[in-house]
């Protein structure tokens, strides 16, 4: 199946940024600060290297099959049965993160803004909106994403500029207080999150100027790294590592604590943060939802993925609703289980396929 439409490498980059951004800025600072404490910024550097490696391998693999997605060529590379299984793991991974995103969205919305609203309502609203984006197709998704991403990155930068005066750099001392162990542990979670940019495996066949893809993919991780550093340096520099680790949503909190005594009108930037974040979550859900639905359609050899949007969305929502009882489970899951599973898919599985292409060069022939 060929998805109609074509996107540019830079649009794919926007897709890759959005697929990580919205949940990473909310959850990662607390998790990283719990392990690495004041060296959380250094953990991010490690995570950046790891993320770059993942997206490098994924892009290299994808570029070997410029006309197909990973779901289509996996059976040729890994053998019919194993290839289908690997394809299914990828598809499940996309839906799995998508329903995780639904619940993360609900977690902050109902904690901070809509405590009385049943969580299913909050989730269905976002999912229907994402389904609408999916009906528009990849081109529409990427264009919407470009607008939202521009606003979101600018807004985050603005919030950062408003709080930068409150950052105390002494909070980052002493350097490496407990050795490198905690720093490496702290890098696992953001490293896993950065690895989500491996979604290029699903996007590559629709990119027009594929020559630039490697560059733009690495650029996507770099943009994410810069944004994450902003958020982590802001959170740890203002609140200290102990408090950052204690918070469920430290980024939300630093947006709330913007204070400029001479200009009280700039206080309480939570509305701005919320605008950025809700839009970002819509894109995050849409990107995973799209990748999953497209993959499923290709796995089933359907002509179009559109027929799958509503059923897949419904199943996804049902899975999301039953997967976690409450925020406590969600939080411990996001710190302990989730990063390992996504690293398994984005790094191990992708790396495995990449190695196989060297062992079975014949599999490349169908590609061109």
């Amino acid at each position: 199946m060929r998805e109609e439409g074509q996107i540019s490498a830079y649009q794919a980059m926007g897709y890759q940024v959005s697929i990580v951004l919205a949940t990473a800025i909310l959850f990662v600072p607390a998790i990283t600060a719990q392990y690495a404490r004041q060296d959380a910024w250094l953990s991010l550097v490690l995570a950046y290297l790891f993320g770059s490696l993942q997206v490098f391998v994924a892009t290299k693999l994808a570029l070997k099959f410029p006309r197909e997605t990973v779901i289509q060529y996996a059976p040729r590379v890994a053998g019919k049965i194993l290839g289908k299984v690997i394809g299914f793991i990828y598809i499940f991974y996309f839906f799995y993160v998508a329903y995780f995103v639904q619940r993360e969205f609900e977690a902050l919305m109902s904690a901070a803004y809509l405590p009385q609203t049943p969580i299913i309502v909050v989730i269905i609203m976002l999912t229907l909106l994402a389904a609408y984006v999916l009906y528009g197709g990849l081109e529409v998704l990427c264009r919407v994403n470009a607008i939202i991403l521009a606003v979101a990155l600018f807004g985050l930068l603005l919030i950062f500029l408003l709080i930068v005066k409150d950052i105390e750099f002494t909070r980052f001392l002493p350097f490496l207080e407990n050795g490198v162990g905690p720093v490496v542990l702290g890098a696992v979670v953001p490293g896993g999150w950065f690895g989500e940019t491996a979604v290029i495996l699903m996007l590559l066949p629709f990119i027009g100027n594929q020559g630039k893809t490697l560059k733009t993919s690495l650029l996507a991780v770099t943009i994410l790294f810069v944004v994450m550093e902003m958020v982590v340096i802001g959170a740890v520099g203002i609140m200290g590592p102990n408090e950052t680790g204690r918070f469920l949503y430290p980024t939300f909190n630093i947006a709330r604590r913007v204070t400029i005594e001479a200009l009280p009108i700039l206080e309480r930037q939570d509305a701005m943060f919320m605008m950025i974040w809700v839009a970002g979550m819509l894109m995050k859900l849409s990107t995973f939802f799209y990748a999953g639905t497209l993959g499923l359609a290709q796995w089933l050899n359907l002509r179009s993925y559109r027929i799958l949007i509503l059923p897949a969305g419904a199943v996804m929502t049902a899975l999301g609703m039953q997967a976690w009882e409450n925020i406590v489970e969600l939080k411990s899951f996001s710190g302990e289980v989730f990063p390992l599973t996504i690293i398994f898919v984005n790094f191990m599985l992708t790396g495995f396929l990449y190695l196989l292409t060297f062992l079975k060069p014949k599999s490349l022939q169908g590609a061109s």
Binding site: Q116, V121, L173, N242, R246, V258, E261, R268
Partner: protein
């Protein structure tokens, strides 16, 4: 069914749904909320939480300052209402207030949190959880104080400027740089400091003192001076979450010097040559703490640079002479140093490291810190503190150079 009919039907359903669903579960109208501006917490002898919340009356506030001060005026013109309720926890007490308040109490605009001295001495730990956890409470915008005396009285002091006491406190805090003689610590700072091993929290102190210009209450006198006035003064020192002592006003500024939080203030020193006196206007200061470790002895060197102007020179001084200026710099530096040393002495006496010397030590000597951090409250009083001040007070000297020096002995 033809496609067009289906489309029309769907459209009608959507429009109908929109009409009945206008709003959301969590709709809260602004006029249904009671905006709490100040929250005071005390403990009853039975160990229950006693909570006092101040809710302004927007109608009276908008009508101008007459409402709050007039004892004979009708009750509806009072600018605020204080609700006092008792509960087992803070949240319990807040909900108990719902029996009395016609509006849902809403804490997002709260800016002042006051703890009674008794409660602070018993420990804030239990009650602080609510303030850290609640999504309505803005940690950075709330300032924490300890009340000396009855908080009911404090939060009911009338005044034509800033009719509602909560708003008045907030504005006094805004101008704290006029003296830097009292602490105004954000709730966020208190919570963050509590999570550190090498630093203890401190908060401001609030008090209602006699108003020397008070006039006796005469019936129907709308312009009487109130008998009391709210004042912010000094700082309260904590060890962990327990109040252990107070700093007076100069000592508080001594503390704020070390923490880089002096925004300004007045400094009165004897004039050069011991005659007359000089009042300087501080513009700000910059401090660094340098920990040293020699043969197991811990020493803290605090280096402060102060900038300011001469605001008053009572005495026969010629400020246009550079040597006089140098002398004034030296005298001001000595005065700042005395303030800091007084604060250090008081803090060491009550074993409360509000300066964060422990944290400074941890940053410089992380390995050594691990061995002493549990004993830090016992070590801190023995730490030698050196204070070096460099003052530059002659940026401007006002409009005249030479003082007139009449009648100065």
């Amino acid at each position: 069914m033809p496609q067009r009919l289906i489309t029309a039907l769907v459209l009608v359903i959507v429009l109908l749904a929109a009409a009945v669903q206008a709003g959301c579960w969590d709709l809260r109208q602004a006029e249904d909320l009671g905006y709490v501006m100040a929250t005071a917490v005390d403990r009853t002898p039975q160990g229950l939480v006693k909570l006092l919340v101040q809710v302004p009356n927007p109608r009276a506030l908008a009508a101008g300052p007459r409402g709050g001060v007039t004892p004979g005026a009708s009750i509806s013109s009072k600018a605020f209402r204080n609700y006092e309720v008792v509960g087992r926890t803070i949240f319990d007490a807040i909900r108990a207030a719902a029996h009395q308040s016609p509006k849902r109490l809403f804490f997002a605009q709260n800016r002042t949190v006051i703890f009674s001295e008794d409660l602070a001495r018993q420990g804030l730990g239990d009650v602080l959880d609510f303030f850290g956890r609640s999504v309505e409470i803005r940690r950075r915008l709330n300032r924490v104080f300890v009340a000396k005396g009855d908080v009911r009285k404090i939060l009911n002091v009338p005044n034509p400027h800033g009719v509602c006491p909560a708003l008045r406190i907030d504005n006094i805090v805004r101008w704290r740089g006029q003296t830097s003689h009292f602490a105004a610590v954000p709730l966020s700072k208190v919570l963050e400091t509590l999570s550190l091993d090498g630093q203890e929290p401190f908060v401001g102190v609030i008090e209602a003192v006699a108003n020397p210009t008070a006039t006796p209450r005469v019936r129907k006198d709308l312009s009487m001076e109130p008998p009391l006035t709210i004042t912010l003064t000094g700082a309260a020192l904590f060890r962990q979450d327990r109040l252990v002592g107070f700093l007076n006003e100069p000592e508080t500024r001594g503390l704020l010097w070390v923490l880089n939080e002096v925004r300004g203030g007045q400094l009165v020193v004897p004039g050069p040559g011991g005659k007359g006196q000089i009042a300087a206007d501080i513009h700000g200061g910059q401090a660094t703490i340098k920990p040293e470790l020699t043969d197991g002895r811990i020493r803290m060197t605090v280096e402060i640079s102060v900038v300011g102007d001469v605001a008053e020179a009572e005495g026969p001084f010629d400020l246009s002479k550079p040597e006089v200026a140098k002398e004034i710099d030296r005298l001001c530096a000595a005065a700042v140093r005395r303030e800091v040393l007084a604060a250090v002495a008081k803090a060491q006496e009550v074993q409360s490291d509000v300066f964060g010397f422990g944290e400074a030590f941890r940053r410089r000597f992380p390995q050594e810190w691990k061995t002493i951090k549990d004993d830090w409250p016992e070590i801190f009083p023995g730490v030698e503190v050196l204070v070096k001040v460099d003052a530059e007070m002659i940026h401007h000297i006002g409009m005249i150079s030479k003082s007139r020096a009449i009648s100065v002995p």
